[in-house]
């Protein structure tokens, strides 16, 4: 019996009451990337990139060019230097090519196929107007796809993650190591660029899976065995670390079965996201909220999903969305807990919850009395069920809704039914007015 928290059929806070299924891919869709306010691109194992209108669900373009699966995708909007805003996307594929596409015309702008290994990550440094590709080495390219410089061969396994740091630095995750590179060069010349290794950090016990920049001062990494390290972005020192997500001594509410069956997969930090205050980590099946100031986990949902959480994102309204291999998308809300309530929620109401919190609360209050610190918990406010297979990623479009992509080859556009309905009414009356049908005809 799954211990996953469930939400009833009545989901008042769930705004998504309308969905559109977007069909276009023939294989797992792994990446969604936003192009502008209403467009996004999807890519996956079939090597096809599709451009969609997030408002209407209309497929704008289907871009063919890669022969193997797509391994990385990054939007590359032109800076102000160019007259008109030109939206490009860069895609890297297992066929060892990188293609730049024009999103407006749907045409291939340029193709680079001089890679020795698959490019696994792409990052655009808008400030320098260059982009970086990470495979077995790190390459720096300019907009015209000139190779500006490249690092020495790093590893055969390749770079797994890449993040921009201040002062022209980038942090590169290679295996369990974190390497800091610094770029130097002029903005205009294609000569004179150089990239060199500044520091190698080996604090992680296992492969670094996620690497995310929080602000100009900090970035955070997560590893396969559940270590979470907060780094100073300027001097690359470890600010804090949390590596006991699964530790029952910290969180004694973990059920014994889970502990026994614990495998690295259960604790790997799949994805990280953050706002100014907190880092949200998708660890195994659970979601953890790590407060940067308090340097501890302030809320968690140990089994947020039936299987691994693949992607999480924080919404502006204190909500958190997670998607998982179990095919569901869940919407959480970070809520403040009433300190004094001995039994905050009826045990039978959310059985998992009542069970967990009571213990934790007792435990923690016993350990250290943090009377002034508010307690938080993640409340499940809704779930989106539509995909029949793992939901790889999602893209939050604000009012336009939410796009999710999945291993079932589909993309689903979840929309606020109320809003759509009134928009349709608006369109209808516009059309009526346009046809001159609003006037009474006698």
């Amino acid at each position: 019996k799954s211990s996953v928290q469930t939400v009833g059929e009545e989901q008042i806070q769930n705004p998504y009451t309308e969905l559109l299924v977007l069909k276009g891919h023939q294989d797992i869709v792994r990446f969604l990337v936003q192009i502008d306010d209403y467009r996004f691109a999807s890519a996956g194992d079939d090597g096809i990139i599709c451009l969609w209108n997030a408002q209407t669900g209309e497929k704008l373009f289907e871009l063919h060019g890669h022969t193997h699966k797509i391994t990385a995708i990054a939007p590359f909007s032109s800076s102000d230097a160019f007259e008109e805003k030109n939206h490009l996307i860069i895609t890297a594929s297992a066929d060892r090519t990188v293609i730049v596409w024009d999103c407006t015309s749907g045409r291939q702008v340029q193709k680079v196929s001089c890679f020795h290994s698959t490019v696994k990550c792409l990052t655009v440094l808008q400030r320098l107007d260059v982009w970086l590709s990470g495979g077995s080495d790190l390459c720096v390219w300019n907009r015209k796809l000139d190779l500006l410089c490249k690092s020495s061969h790093l590893t055969d396994a390749g770079i797994s993650a890449l993040v921009e740091l201040p002062k022209n630095c980038v942090a590169v995750a290679v295996g369990r190591e974190l390497i800091i590179f610094r770029l130097s060069g002029s903005n205009n010349e294609s000569e004179g660029w150089n990239v060199f290794e500044v520091k190698r950090l080996v604090d992680h016990q296992d492969n670094i899976l996620s690497l995310v920049s929080i602000n100009d001062l900090t970035f955070v990494t997560g590893s396969h065995v559940g270590e979470l390290i907060v780094w100073d972005a300027l001097d690359w020192t470890k600010q804090a670390s949390e590596c006991n997500f699964w530790d029952s001594s910290v969180h004694p509410d973990v059920q014994p079965e889970i502990k026994l069956s614990q495998s690295p997969n259960e604790t790997s930090v799949q994805h990280l996201t953050s706002d100014e205050e907190c880092v949200f980590a998708a660890v195994g099946k659970g979601i953890y909220v790590y407060n940067l100031q308090m340097k501890r986990v302030i809320a968690c949902q140990r089994t947020a999903h039936d299987s691994s959480v693949l992607h999480i994102e924080k919404l502006p309204n204190r909500q958190l969305i997670s998607c998982s291999e179990d095919g569901s998308v869940r919407i959480w809300e970070l809520r403040e807990k009433q300190q004094l309530a001995a039994e905050p929620v009826g045990a039978g109401f959310f059985n998992m919850w009542g069970f967990g919190r009571a213990n934790k609360q007792a435990n923690q209050t016993a350990k250290k009395m943090q009377e002034s610190t508010p307690m938080y918990f993640l409340e499940l406010v809704g779930d989106l069920i539509g995909h029949s297979s793992a939901v790889q990623m999602f893209l939050y479009f604000g009012e336009l809704g939410l796009a999710t992509c999945s291993a079932d080859h589909l993309i689903i556009l979840w929309k606020d039914g109320e809003r759509e309905s009134s928009l349709r009414s608006l369109t209808l009356f516009q059309k009526l007015a346009q046809n001159g049908d609003l006037q009474l005809k006698l």
């Binding site: 009833g8 059929e9 009545e10 989901q11 008042i12 769930n14 009451t17 309308e18 969905l19 559109l20 299924v21 977007l22 069909k23 669900g57 209309e58 809704g382 069920i385 539509g386 995909h387 029949s388 589909l410 689903i412 929309k415 039914g417 759509e420 309905s421 009134s422 349709r424 009414s425 608006l426 369109t427 209808l428 009356f429 059309k431 009526l432 046809n435 001159g436 049908d437 609003l438 009474l440 005809k441 006698l442």
Partner: protein, 933 residues
Amino acid sequence: MISAPDVVAFTREEELEDDLYREPPLPEEYSVPLFPFAGHGANPWAKVAGSKFTRDFILISEFSEQVGPQPLLTIPDDAKVSGTFDLNYFSLRIMSVDYQASFVGHPPGSAYPKLNFVEDSKVVLGDSKEGAFAYVHHLTLYDLEARGFVRPFCMAYISADEHKIMQQFQELSAEFSKASECLKTGNRKAFASELEKKLRDLDYTRTVLHNETEAQKKANDKGYYTTQAIEKANELASVEKSIIEHQDLLRQIRSYPYRKLKESEFHPYEPERALDRADTGCDQDSAPSDPAEPGETYLYTHIPSYTPKLIKAKSAKCFDKKLKTLEELCDVYFFTQTLDQLHHIERTFRGDVCYLLTEQISRALLKQQSVTNFLFEDVSFLDEKPPEKQYRGCQGLGQDAMDGKCLEESLTPKVVISLGSYKSSVECVPIKMEQEMEDSEEPKMSESVTSEPQENLDYLDADIKGSISSGESIEVLGTEKSGLTKSESQASLPVMPSPQAGRSKVGSRRTVSEDSIEVLSTCPSESLIPEDFKASYPSAINEEPYADNDDDERGLRFAPRPSPGGADERDDDVSKQESLVQVDAACCIGKESPNFLEPLPELGQKPCEEDGVVRIPPQPYRAAEQGLRGGFPAHDGAPGGLLPYELDSRYLSGSREVSKSSLDECSDSTSHISSAASTCSDRTPSPARPACQAGERHRKRAGQNALRFIRQYPFAHPAIYSLLSGRTLVVLGEDEAMVKKLVTALSIFVPNCGVYAKPVKHWVTSPLHLVDFQKWKLIGLQRTVSPAGMNALHALSRYSRYLSILDADSKTLRCPLYKGTVVARLADHRTQIKRGSTYYMHVQSILTQLCSKAFLFTFCHHLHLPISEREPEESVVNRRMNFLKLQLGLANEDVKIVQYLAELLKLHYIQEPGQGGSPLLRFDYVPSFLYKI
């Protein structure tokens, strides 16, 4: 949507209940008069008890040159149908009004026999003695062996109800014309190949004779011709002549399609079904743009190998030869096609005339509701048009291009050929046909024959109406032509002054009247049609009087005009009819009257009814429609804000082409709502159309199953609510038949999402996916114990929030709660309705109400847009809710139904034409409950 028979039946039942009697009686004008003979257990719909046949049928007769008029076949081909009705006698009657004195042979001034391409004639006649009234369609077929190469045939639609014949005249005419065209096409083909054969025979004979003559010449050295030789030479000469004649005939028959194509009236026969096309593969693949030409030429190019025979000198005894059967005269393929068409006619016009009319009206009205009609109506029924037209009708609302088209359409001069006015002009003129009269006419006839040049053939047949006087009781129901001509010779006819007298003698009249012929198809122009005939279609209850009546270039317009619905209304028409009587009287004479060919503009322009009173019940409904439409998708091009679709043009409108084209749709459409005539007597089975017969049966069955469903399952209401609110209902079960039955039953509640097929999937065996719920709103799912079956169940539980699940095996339903009132009315398990078709119509009527509410809700401007700039969204939402609850009187979940329907309307309306628009799935997060029996 409840047809009149239902209503009447109900009042009749009431009479038996004493309680109801105590209630204050209805005002006289509203009460339905009881059938006078109700007490005797008589069927009030068996109008003419005197008729000897049990139901309407179609009779094909031939005027055989050997035995005279004889019946060939009846449709339906059932001895019971015609009963004791004397087919032979009636054949004589209907053939006696034949006009086929048309000449063939050697016209003066022509060396060769000429084929006479006569138009069909369309006649209505009645035989009060037999209690039979008939629409008679005469046609001639060519037969090389027949006298003058022609064989006169006629097809007659025989009914006991004269109103039916008169009111459906145009439809009958159009349908029979199709059948006739089919027969004639086949006949031309057969005739041409017969000629080819004959030519080969002649050619062969000539060769043989020539050889013989040569041989004789050689053998004969005496220097003079023997009688034998002269005989041979004569024979040779006659064969030569015969060859030339036949070649000429062949040329004529081949040139027919080309000649006819130039005439707008000509509608070359085209088979309707693609299946047949594929089956036969012959000559029907021609493009629709020039349908006749390639087809017909192909007909004659394909000649099977044939061994010529020697033609002997004519045998003297021509009565020995066996005449070709109808099947031989036409190609077998065309013959069967014709039979199909006739069966189709028979089915279409089955049932009581009030049913037919009600249905035509409701269909016409439905067609106008292009914004909402897709929801619950079978749009394919409404649009029996090519796809692009359908698209125009259903989606093109408000397009600019559309408007342009409409404008064009509406600018063409419009004239309506009215059935109602046929009816009103029906005069049973009791004419004692004097022998001298006939005599006096005969010379005229022949005169006209001889003097008519070839190109006047078009109305030649109109002129030569061989009227045969008879002492029998054939009454002239009406003639169109008669309205056109005022002949001085009318004075010689004993005209009955009042139409009333002529009308009231059902069954008892013994007046002798002349046979009259209406020749619609030969009217050279529409202007010939007198205003009485143009006024309106019977169901075109009233056209909105044009408010801005100033632009005359739009053509002829006609004020509202009632179609007399029954005998009661006739009084009102007296004034009009009086003017007609004298005209009618002229029916049999004076066809040469000069004004025959002259348009009668002053008649055409005159509004035919000053008071503008409308007397047909559905009218208020229509008026309401108009009112509604005022605010919305009006079309600029259309006069008076009316929708300019075909259907309207049929009413308002029409240049002859328009009215003609709409005729087909109209007649095709007659049986939209199925056996609505459920209360009709058993002698008049419900009509059905062959094309949609399946749909017809389906509806009946669906209605029956639905009735059973709501009686058997106490949780029918939430199930139906699920369907109406757009929540997919899955019927789960092991037994395919049972599941399909349930799905069929429930399918009548499923709103369409667009103009496509109903979102119903009867039987699925694979696990369902989200995409399926987008596409289908009602699914029959197989329950198996196999792993796949488990998967299917797993998928069901996974997607349970989108689904309602009706378990047919354990008789449970899992779905959201329903506390509204609409479904209770829709599906009352204590309903008194017993017949599936009746229930189907009940459902349709309630669904139509829902549609209209949804329509109001959707198109109320202020409900969806803030009134002022600063108005918060919440107040708009509140306003919307208030409207739904207070104005529309919807309770609880009924709101959801209307909201869903409104959403569909919106989607349908704003959908860009051409692109299908991705279907979206809307759902609610509402708890489900498990219902058990």
